[in-house]
Symmetry: C2
Subunit: 272 residues, 2 copies
């Protein structure tokens, strides 16, 4: 999917919501046994309940790897439930030397056919380049994350006072076009979102940290949107997946996705 | 496996060789079709040919993920061929927020039962902490890698002139004991290996970049060994796996592993 297709889908749906499928077998609704079959069923129901409001799905690979070989089958089957035209992200945070990055690119872009993958750029350009060899596929590079540990190294300034996350953002923008490079920046970092947007006016941002992690959608929109549209995907995982642990989990997940989509629609409309 | 068990195994075998199983189906010996069954067979033969000379095996997860769900089965079966008492490393370079890191720890320490995993610490302490909850399991944190892209961010100095790789090394040493934290540093970085050893006198280093990537074993040993022993694992992957593409591949792999082990043995003996 290219930049204008993604932008058009967002406008058409009035939604820049990314639904995160971080499905933990131990957090399935009450009465549902923790096994692979039920994870797949749960994912199907969640996708059915939310896809009208979602511009993207982000699948957190860790939760599937923790199931062993069957986890990868659940991953493949889950992808089949996502309707065509909805952007798919492998939240994998991979990053390795060139010959290894090529293998990860094969795994996520060829075997699984995701539109995008999250990447850690600590190992530099050759950890990202092999993913850019696939046209209309995206490398989503970690800039500033939403977790407490972000303060350990990401804000570390160089001699000129430039923080590491900003150096990585600039470098990533040099490595690939706004049609292939996206950046991760946390919803709880609105000051830095402003700064990143000023530096990269055309790049999509993938923004986690809404919902369970507590960021405000209106503040995020004010900081990160562009003159031509949202140019972002805002992720919510746990607040949707676990909106209810009862038999109404699908309805409640759909309601939470709708609530976020309506808030996004209002923000888009107010901006126009 | 704890620090003294690993150190004792290294002394007993006179080897700090780590054999990297980065098995690429497209680089199997001539006449062997590129499929999962043959990768497993190849791994078994390589392990049989090299285990007498190896202190550790490092499995590069990317090559298995590129095979899809069956890749994870090959991974599980490959681990069964590694004799007890040999240290096993998942070269996965994972790194994510706490709840996700817990899932990766389950995948690699519980489901697959590796002794250690390589981690990317860009996201900070909470990306590493869940792995340290497992006693006698190891978090191997990327400090300075051997690839060209290492120069993009890893040498970036702060206002005091301290490079990022050294800040990460110091932080990792604060997060866990030398019995759980190991550091990755490239064999082609001998000056920096000296500096890292001075900073962390007791920690094991995992050192890739010998062989196909061109680092010198004698220089590495001079830079990174300690008064009490090697305190390192030096990895070779392609130079062993692909020592021959003919029917003598097992013999040649064994010879290359033996050659490295003998060189290691000489270095250990000279130091005593």
């Amino acid at each position: 999917m290219n930049h204008s297709q993604l932008s058009n889908n967002i406008i058409k749906k009035s939604s820049f919501l990314c639904v995160g499928l971080d499905t933990d077998p131990r957090r399935l609704p009450a009465g549902m046994e923790a096994n692979e079959k039920n994870v797949l069923h749960f994912n199907r129901v969640i996708i059915e309940a939310t896809h009208k409001y979602a511009a993207a799905y982000k699948i957190n690979i860790a939760f599937y790897e923790a199931m062993g070989p069957q986890g990868w089958e659940v991953l493949q089957e889950t992808l089949k439930f996502i309707p065509d035209g909805i952007f798919t992200i492998a939240d994998a945070k991979r990053g390795d030397i060139g010959n290894t990055a090529e293998q990860y690119a094969r795994a996520f872009f060829e075997v699984l056919n995701f539109d995008a993958i999250t990447l850690n750029a600590y190992m530099g350009r050759d950890a990202v380049a092999p993913f850019l060899a696939y046209s209309d596929k995206w490398a989503i590079v970690l800039a500033l994350t939403s977790n407490p540990g972000a303060s350990d190294f990401q804000y570390r300034t160089d001699a000129k006072g430039i923080p590491l996350y900003l150096s990585i953002a600039h470098a990533a923008a040099d490595w690939g076009s706004p049609g292939q490079i996206m950046l991760v920046a946390g919803a709880n970092r609105t000051t830095e979102l402003n700064e990143l947007r000023a530096a990269l006016p055309q790049h999509f941002f993938l923004i986690p940290g809404i919902g369970a992690q507590g960021g405000s959608l209106a503040e995020v929109y004010a900081s990160a949107s562009t003159a031509t549209g949202p140019c972002m995907l805002v992720n919510a995982s746990r607040s949707i997946l676990y909106a209810s642990s009862g038999p109404d989990y699908a309805i409640r997940a759909g309601q939470e996705a709708l609530r976020l989509q309506e808030e996004m629609s209002n923000l888009i409309n107010q901006a126009n």
